[in-house]
Amino acid sequence: MKKLLILLPFLVTQVLGQIDFNNFITLQSSGKIPSDFSDLAREKVAGDDIRNENLSKKNDTQFKQNIHYSLDKIIHSGECVYGDPISNYISDVAKNLLKDDKELYSKLRFYTLKSNVANAFSTHQGIIVFTTGLISQFANETQLAFVLAHEIAHYKEEHVVQTFEWKTQNKYNRENLGQFNNYSKEKEFEADTKASQMCLDAGYSASEVYNSFDVLMFCHLPFDEIKFPLDYFNTPLFYVPVKEFGKEIFPIKMDEAYDDENSTHPNIEKRKEMIRPLLEKSFGTGQSFINSETEFNTIRNYARFESIRTNIINLELSKALYQIFLLEKDFPNNFALERMKCHAWVGLLNAKNNGYWSDVVVNKRELEGESAILYQYIRKLDKYALAAHTLRTLEDASKKYPENDELKKLYNSSIYSIASNSIWSWSKYSDIPFQEAFTINKETKDTLGNETVTEVTNTDKESLSKYDRIKGTGTGKNTSTNSVIADSANYFLFGISDLIASKSVINTYNNYQIEINKKKEQENIKKKNSEKVKIIENKLIVVEPTTYYYLRNKNDFSKSDVYQNKLIDAITDVAQKQNIKIFDYSTNTLDQGGTALFNQRSTIMNYLKQYANLNENTLFVPVDYELIQGIQQKCGTNKVLFTWTEYWAGDRSIVGNIITGLIVPPTLPLMTLNAVAKYNTCKFVFAVIDMDAGKLDYSYSNTIKSSGGSLVLKSAIYNLFNVKK
């Protein structure tokens, strides 16, 4: 109940159109669930009776299967939302663009994908999807409108089916890839031209349409380019010397004429050249915003908050920290940013202690622009410096929000991570803060260092966009203010002096050490059956099983669907006999469960995605912590079953099997059976995750020869439900 009350203000303000960023939670779908989401892919294929005349019947069926099943994978990925503020805003912009073509507007649907890949796409069915990564990069409404118009043009001109048609007619392969790329580029030029005209007709600014390509050019960078202040981490208790940040500059690469030979899209220079003649007549006319600028900024900020969350899930933690810094100037003392900052630091610490550090830091080759200074700094941190940063951040946040459960769990997770590191020494840290150490140093005239700290003030003008800053139309000044002499050798050792002095951290660390050692001992001792307890007691959350049916090494969508349903039926059937209540979050239940179920399902899928990136020596705290708590409360269980199966059906050579049987007579009956029976390779993976503890409770994987029949599936599920630990 408490958790619902926490979420309530956020949800209410969403409905009313205002967003409470202080209590930001991830984008949620709202309204009636559209048929795009509730109908199963095979139903959509069966119901799609529009015949594409230029395709043969077989190809037409293949085309429909491709478009419906592949889109289904995206919209049921847990990342796609409908009826959310961003989708609604895009719909409003589309209304502007198509004010003279209401019929076309009525055919389109707009959804948002929570992904940091800056992309938008349209489908043959009239669905247009924007990623939050792209939305966060726009400088104004016109740029968004141009991209939207581009996608509408693709749909209107039926480019998707034309491309498919080209591939079937020209036997698309490696040899004619160049031809295909040229064909695809023509379509892009066509879409750009039509989009430009659409924007001009709608009254958008011609020069901003032209500048839209800046978004494509620089979307690999963070959503803004602000100089990172070198005193950012400094607090009364924590100090980082300037020299730790390094002096190397990482320029932004700006080559619009890159080689596009192997790309389906023309390079930026060519695209600009194509639309320039159309636009330059209208330069200086039109508006950057037709809808409310405030609304645009709100939507963009929503996308930016979402982008931070996505980076945390994807372990792009340095990028998350820079983005948090960017947003902090507009959202000072924001709780959501504070908690996501804690998630990022804890994630970095986990990575360091569990051996996947290189996966979470930005590669040196990718260092570019203002953010590079922070990324470079983080790359160099050793485990003690990292721990100091993490614990300092957590401690400061916990003081501001002492009752927050999520922060407490993050705190424990960080100490658990340190405790799982076999080589650790708290004695390295000082129990006196650096200022005191500095004072002592001054008095004793001990030479600790001779470093000057420069406080940097960023005076970039607020009105400049990221792209203006990159292209040098803005100015920034560095101002030296106070100079402080301090130790630069081991600055971080003074950063958690209060925690060392109070011994709170060390006590918690010792408790976790005991727990971890006990667990290791238990793993070496054979357990007696009498001590075992069932993994699954009486309730279980079941997520969409991931099933792949391969026919001749190719994924057969419709058979995968059928196989998936067989698996869900097996789970439901066995659960019923075992008196286990199942909370089924598969797509089969969306029709009845509606938007609420869809949102919960998406939350769980994202939980699994974030979990998949972590090591088992981690106390996992999901970034959607409050939402996960809500689901656990609703279902009355914290156990979720994740299932993955693959079924490989091959061609069966009847003659070959019979011949083998005749050559080796004892095998003849079996070869005959093998020739006619459907007995193929079936791979299972089951995992039961305890969402509360953030740990894998049980896992089972096996590869068997099976007909894939229900009994085999039911046996595997039965065994899963009766496993003891």
Partner: protein, 263 residues
Amino acid sequence: MIRYYYTILLLFICFSSNSQYQGYFGKRTTISIDGILKGNVFYNVTDDISIYNTGKQMYEEKGSHLISGGFNVSLAHYFSNRFGLALDFSLYRNTIKTPLTATTYQSDLFAVEKMKMNTIHFIPKIEFSSLGNLPIGFTHSFGIGYSRSSIVDRDYNKITIIDNSGQSTLPPGTYLSTFRPTRLRDLHGLVLEYGLKLKLPINEFMAFNIGSNVRLNIPFPNRVFEVLEGSTYGFEDEVAKSMTRTRAWNIVDIRAGLTFMLF
């Protein structure tokens, strides 16, 4: 993208799997009952006797001992999804050739009707499966066990063809008397057997089996010596040779039946 993350999770789980083998619906011990059909694959390749006494008349017959039948009971326990141990008991019946025999030099030439031979096998086995789905699915088995063959103890019809005066009896093939073997010894030996079986589940408690076995019968050494180099030319020795030959040549069988999941 979602598949990428699920792939990572999949790999992570495969490496950290802590599976507890539970068998088929929690059952790891099974009992199988199969009917067997065995074939003498070397029928008539080396044999030269082609005249038989069916019990009613002399008859040139082929194939009556080509096929034999029986049943097999197997009790198995599986320790993992790829390995188990089993105990097989088989009983099957062959019809063996009985030779035309003269009791002594210049004495009667007679033929005894085809005799029935019972063979039992008692074989402990290892069962394994390369793509583990035990106790169902494809199973290989291999075992070394004990074999015993014995002639069924009853009266057999006997036809004397030529009497001790050198004259043929009236009329040829007339049934004249019965013969009860008294000196026939059981044949003991080792048997090595390899089997391949497919168990298809029917419901939670049963599976249908179909399979095939191949075996090598090795009589105990002293018995072989005695049969091959018997100093006495006698009917019993010929029967023993026939028994050994039949055992040796019945090397392949096919079997089908049911497996019951016990506990």
